[in-house]
Symmetry: C2
Subunit: 326 residues, 2 copies
DNA sequence: GTTGCTTACGATTTGCGTAACGATA
DNA sequence: TATCGTTACGCAAATCGTAAGCAAC
């Protein structure tokens, strides 16, 4: 049993039981993988895959067990490599971030720009995904960090680190009646107009729906979208009153929109970073988190993610105070 | 970076930074290990060991970090091998048990005999150790199972599984006054005689000391020993009144001794099996635990040790009911 | 001088890729 | 017939053990 064999095994599973495709991923030829798999199965003494003829179609039950431990093992191998890269202050590296549109579009760019100034040779992959997809992608190992917002409890699926708080804002065209009301709209007011908001708000268990329900009201979601820009465009078109994250609007970017405070009964949100447990972080990953949330301590961060300490995070500041530039 | 390199690294550390000695452990020559270490250090890009001249004297701080992850990685490699061995119903294997004298001498032998009937080709290593040493040895990876008793909370350092309950008994020579008192001695009576008991009872925080203290009394420990046989011999010699585990005396083995119930204020004990977390158990290990505690469910056992379920153990039965043979 | 790590060297093994083959749908 | 996995073969690289070299106590 060798590391290479185990890596091939995992690659074949990840490629959907297609050795040819897995070989491409690993930058090797197909016969090489085929042989490695054979050797691994010989070493263990039984088949890891169910086969139809020669094609692999699924894992055997035993193979499934082996896979679980193989993933952990490969994770530790990756950790050791990360330790080494940090130790050598290696400039190259990859950082895969999966997050929602608002973070990717409005919050991350300045942080990533700063990160790339400090780490010009890293390659950063930013993958926007639907709310529900974000944590699933992290869990599948397709990302190193997930950034996700919630108004409720901390997200599961890894080590959750609170970065900053933010509130929703009401957005209307400058000439809209609400813009001239002189005061922030009430929940009752919002219940009477068509709303345009995030896709996730349409779920029955969303914090928005709960806020209306608590007041004996119901929101009328005229339209939902993942993309804050789409929402703003719809607001401009008069489709409805926008309700979105304060990060998504700026006086400079949206001179034609009026931004009003949301009713206080609509709860604030916290944006969390979620990291896989027991994963050694590259230095630039820690740097990114510190850019997003300067209140975090590098050592605490590392200790908690390593599982050496219980999480006890500083209270996340308001996003508004964090980013006076925007 | 290869599995072999990491194994060598760990072996060198375990051998006390002596490559020659580590080579013997791994069944390889010293130059081979030396080269593997060099390759690992080259692959990582920095030194894992501090050196005085050519000799290794300690780990570097970075080496210490790498070691931690290496141990986890090698643990998973071992788990995969264990899965394979179970899957193939492999008859060979090793089972290292570390426990206290009483368990090793009075409880384990029949269980081990049964185990060897089922698994004649396994090699079982039974290592008696001082109370305090047992868990330390398990933690250092020198054993696969620790068996340890406590009257208080469950032992830490791994997955603790309650096997059975037992009580202490008072042991005196047949012609001793207490043997003819007609009833079990009280705590007050025991406070007035010299006691002979386990070494661990002499600790100020022992459950025995606490029981006496709660009654406003103090025990007079005339002698302590780890070894129940030694204690019984001392009792025969008239050194004092014995206080030991009920498992350690039997009518057949000790016809010259009278065994009396201990006062109820002396709390009962539970014997626990402690297993390293997230370790795949060989089938014979599960069998051993089932011999010691038939109330356990094989699947629960595996699930909890694997970390897939929270421990929720059946109440441990009394040892007396478990082993009607003795 | 003894202990212990490193280097050198030759024999063996392992592993890769190319290419041909076989099976499946 | 196209796709995908296995087998065959030749070459390159890695690894082991023996033996010799070197540093420290």
């Amino acid at each position: 049993m060798t590391l290479v064999q185990l890596r091939c095994f995992a690659a074949i599973v990840d490629a959907g039981f297609n050795i040819t495709q897995a070989a491409a991923q690993v930058h090797a030829t197909q016969p090489a993988l085929s042989k490695q798999l054979k050797q691994l199965e010989d070493a263990l003494g039984y088949r890891l895959f169910l086969r139809h003829g020669r094609s692999l179609v699924d894992l055997t039950p035993a193979g499934r067990q082996v896979l679980e431990h193989t993933r952990r093992l490969l994770g530790e191998a990756r950790n050791i490599r990360a330790l080494a890269a940090n130790q050598r202050a290696e400039a190259e590296g990859e950082l895969r971030i999966v997050t929602t549109h608002t973070q990717a579009r409005f919050v991350l760019p300045p942080a990533l720009a700063a990160l790339r100034r400090a780490w010009p040779r890293t390659s950063i992959h930013l993958e926007p995904a639907a709310d529900a997809e974000v944590l699933a992608r992290l869990d599948r190992g397709e990302a190193d960090v997930a950034l996700i917002s919630s108004s409720g409890s901390e997200p599961a699926g890894g080590v959750a680190i609170p970065l900053y708080r933010w509130r929703r804002v009401v957005v209307v065209p400058r000439d809209h009646a609400l813009a001239h009301a002189g005061r922030a709209p009430t929940l009752a007011t919002l219940a009477e107009v068509p709303l345009v908001s995030y896709e996730s708000s349409s779920r029955a268990d969303s914090s928005l729906a709960a806020a209306f329900a608590d007041a004996g009201l119901a929101a009328h979601l005229a339209m939902t979208a993942r993309d804050a820009d789409v929402i703003k465009t719809c607001v401009r078109e008069g489709i409805g009153v926008g309700l979105l994250a304060e990060m998504a609007v700026g006086a400079l970017a949206d001179p034609d929109l009026a931004v009003l405070e949301a009713p206080t009964s609509i709860p604030g949100c916290i944006t969390w970073a979620v990291l896989p447990r027991e994963r050694v972080l590259r230095d630039y990953t820690v740097d990114l988190l510190r850019h997003l949330a300067p209140q975090l301590d590098r050592h605490d961060l590392r200790r908690v993610v390593a599982g050496h300490a219980e999480p006890r995070w500083p209270a996340p500041p308001d996003w508004r105070d964090l980013s006076p530039v925007l």
